[in-house]
């Protein structure tokens, strides 16, 4: 891991550049528009840097469903906890998932109660855990969009090659394009343009967004995560909206290419197949999940363990489904900061590092979002 010579960071937090794009937005703007940033990482940047405070009132930013742990179905989290409760199981996952509530608690609490749950930085680390604990069964709880799916795939490929019998994966990997289509096809939809998630497109490219932009006549701008990226992405979207265009454009061209990372995509194709998946707060999404292929069934924790399979109803007090579909902003939820706090969340977006509710709570809990919400 290299950090010392990190570039492309301060440059993209340059105040003058942000203001330059903001002025271009103001100059171009003729009518009010509503757009959605897909990724929770972008939502956090917007709130953390106060980009929403800078924008003219005619622009409404809605926050999208791009928080993979927020949409992980409650049943899958319960399955992960049930796995961790098996005495010889070591459950490995990313820090992102630790605080997300299942129906009876989260992984951090399960850990406090004695389950062996380990935070890893890469799925490959859990392979090492399995090799070092051959008398235990090691399960990696694989979470994330197409961004992290390749590394989970790589772990499965390596485990198969090494005939590692004590390793398996519980896959909660999800796909972005079907979620965009679901939002656009809804009768309640207000979104007129999308800022697509730069990191997902780094892996997948943006070819699959072209038919969506055409079908729904909506501009899609692949956008990065720094303030300059986001303001430029907004400008590109506004430019298209004002002249009636609906194309896929790439703001994040320093990282994203049209075809994405072909090696990473091949890894996904080798191990995963597209399946229907229930998204938390949203419901069943056709093609919304990545399931482990039958060729890897021996490493699929969902198949090799006998796990609870109950349908669990979300608390009606939690409106995270509406937040995730961009129908409301977090402060409009009746539970926000009333009976839903990071310490005691009703839903996942209040605790996830990419959750919209957490962004409002942490950076702006006095602001009620933008008044035009």
């Amino acid at each position: 891991m290299k950090a010392a010579k990190m570039k492309f960071l301060t440059e993209y937090r340059n105040n003058e550049l942000v203001v330059k794009y903001l002025q271009a937005v103001i100059k171009t703007l003729r009518r009010p528009w509503t757009m959605m940033e897909i990724c929770g990482g972008q939502t956090h940047s917007i709130l953390k840097y106060g980009i929403d405070q800078m924008l003219p009132g005619e622009i409404t930013l809605l926050h999208g469903p791009g928080c993979p742990v927020c949409v992980t179905p409650i049943e899958l989290i319960d399955k992960a906890i049930a796995l961790a409760e098996i005495p010889d199981v070591i459950l490995c996952t990313f820090g992102d998932m630790m605080r997300v509530p299942g129906s009876g608690g989260n992984l951090l609490e399960a850990k406090a109660e004695g389950c062996d749950i380990r935070m890893v930085y890469s799925p490959l680390e859990s392979i090492r855990v399995a090799e070092n604990n051959l008398d235990r069964r090691v399960v990696f709880f694989g979470i994330g969009f197409e961004t992290t799916a390749p590394t989970t795939a790589l772990a499965l490929i390596q485990a198969k090659k090494r005939r590692l019998a004590n390793f398996s994966v519980l896959s909660a990997h999800v796909r972005v394009p079907p979620a965009i289509e679901l939002i656009l096809s809804s009768s309640e939809n207000q979104v007129q343009a999308f800022l697509a998630a730069g990191h997902v497109c780094t892996v997948m490219g943006y070819r699959e967004y072209i038919p969506i932009a055409e079908k729904y006549n909506v501009p899609i701008v692949v956008t990065g995560f720094e303030p300059v990226d986001i303001m430029q992405g907004i400008y590109m979207a506004i430019k298209q909206l004002e002249r009636g265009a609906a194309a896929v454009e790439n703001q994040y061209s320093r990282v994203v290419s049209k075809n994405g990372n072909e090696t990473a995509r091949k890894l996904i194709d080798e191990v995963f197949q597209v399946e229907s998946r229930k998204w938390r707060g949203i419901g069943e999404i056709e093609g919304g999940g990545l399931a482990i292929k039958p060729e890897y069934a021996a490493l699929d924790a969902a198949k090799i363990f006998d796990l609870p399979d109950e349908n669990i109803e979300e608390s009606s007090r939690c409106w995270s489904g509406k937040v995730l579909r961009g129908l409301i902003k977090p402060p409009e939820c009746p539970s926000f900061t009333i009976d839903c706090f990071p310490e005691h969340p009703l839903g996942a977006p209040m605790v996830s590092a990419e959750g919209a509710c957490a962004a409002y709570y942490n950076y702006a809990n006095s602001r009620q979002g933008k008044t035009n919400a």
Binding site: R99, L108, Y121, P227
Partner: protein, 360 residues
């Protein structure tokens, strides 16, 4: 804010209620993270049970008076993994940590006790190295390690070695250094770059390799406080930025002082390797632990002098903001407000627990 008026407030205003009722029936790691659950544990379990008025100050140490002599006492436990890391080790931390807590009370550190909880099987050479490091740290700072205790626990019932130190010091001035002394307009002086200790320990523990080795900032702070006191600077409050980092320290001070603090993101020094590591791991350097940094609240008239004297020891000392007044009723929860690099504002609050790395 009382219960009755609470019902009339809009949903957003009710955020200002102190801490939500925590109903965990087990201790989580987050109870020790320095954030909301730690505050909750102290307020609900310890303060009512102990019941001593000195605890109400919620300072780094307690001050008491014996026959006209002002004394300060402070205690701290050290549980770091690994025991040795770039820039320090658990022994050095155990001496400097308690010494720094005394210094934050404006007290000259005099005596230290040390209690060791050692796990069966720990190599004696490790104990020797830690003891030697503690001896050197004490010698360097002039504090005397005068008493101690040793307990050995069964293998696998601990994590190698825990150390608790308790220190006593004398307060040799007339200042009352605590949050309630802070006045509107006071400047906030930060004694250097932030985030190095937390990242150094984490990188060492998790085996991350950065191009530059990030070293802990672990250092004694009494000499920096002493130079300010000796030059008649009217110090209003001091706080070292340990667990929970700069952000948590400022929120705690703002709450205790009943004041709003405003800081400027652009003025807070974070060195490049730390910034880079935080970006990769999805951490906010404002919340990362330090072991050799503090903030000092001084009246505007003494600000230049404070910087001049501090910079003779730590050249990076800098003013990062000020106390901007009492909080209005409808802004009761906005303890600390930060002006961002883009000129917008962001509130700074306590974290619920420890920062977890963000991967996906």
């Amino acid at each position: 804010m009382n219960e009755k008026s609470d019902n009339k407030l809009s949903p957003i205003d009710r955020i200002s209620c102190p801490v939500t009722t925590s109903n965990y029936d087990h201790i989580l790691l987050a109870h020790g993270g320095g954030g909301k659950l730690t505050a909750d544990l102290i307020e609900k379990a310890f303060l009512p049970a102990f019941g001593d008025p000195a605890l109400a100050e919620r300072h780094d140490g307690a001050e008491f008076n014996i026959e006209g002599i002002r004394l300060a006492i402070s205690t701290d436990s050290f549980v770091v993994t690994p025991l040795f890391f770039p820039g320090g080790d658990i022994g050095k931390l155990a001496v400097f940590g308690t010494l720094n807590d005394l210094a934050m009370c404006g007290a000259r550190p005099l005596f230290l006790s040390a209690a060791f909880i050692i796990e069966e099987g720990l190599p004696l050479s490790t104990v020797n190295l830690v003891a030697e490091s503690m001896g050197q740290a004490a010698k360097k700072t002039g504090i005397r390690l005068v008493t101690g205790d040793t307990k050995v626990i069964e293998r696998k019932s601990g994590n190698d070695l825990y150390i608790t130190t308790t220190g006593i010091g004398t307060i040799e001035h007339d200042l009352k250094i605590f949050p309630k002394s802070i006045r509107e307009g006071d400047k906030i002086v930060l004694s250097g770059d932030i985030g190095r200790h937390g990242i150094a320990v984490m990188a060492c523990r998790e085996g991350f390799e950065f191009e530059t080795t990030i070293e802990s900032d672990c250092a004694p702070l009494w000499n920096q406080v002493e130079i300010l006191l000796r030059n008649d600077i009217e110090i209003h409050c001091l706080r070292d930025l340990t667990r929970g980092g700069l952000a948590t320290a400022l929120v705690e001070i703002a709450e205790a002082a009943g004041l709003r603090l405003t800081i400027d993101e652009c003025l807070i020094p974070v060195n490049e390797p730390v910034r880079g590591a935080c970006e990769i791991l999805g951490l906010d350097p404002l919340y990362v632990a330090n072991e050799g940094r503090f903030v000092c609240f001084v009246p505007e008239k003494d600000t230049a002098k404070t910087l001049d004297w501090l910079r003779t020891i730590v050249p990076e000392a800098v003013v990062i903001g000020q106390a901007t007044g009492t909080r209005k009723h409808d802004e009761a929860h906005r303890h600390v407000v930060m002006k961002t690099a883009l000129g917008t504002t962001r509130i700074i609050d306590r974290l619920t627990g420890e920062q977890l790395p963000r991967i996906c």
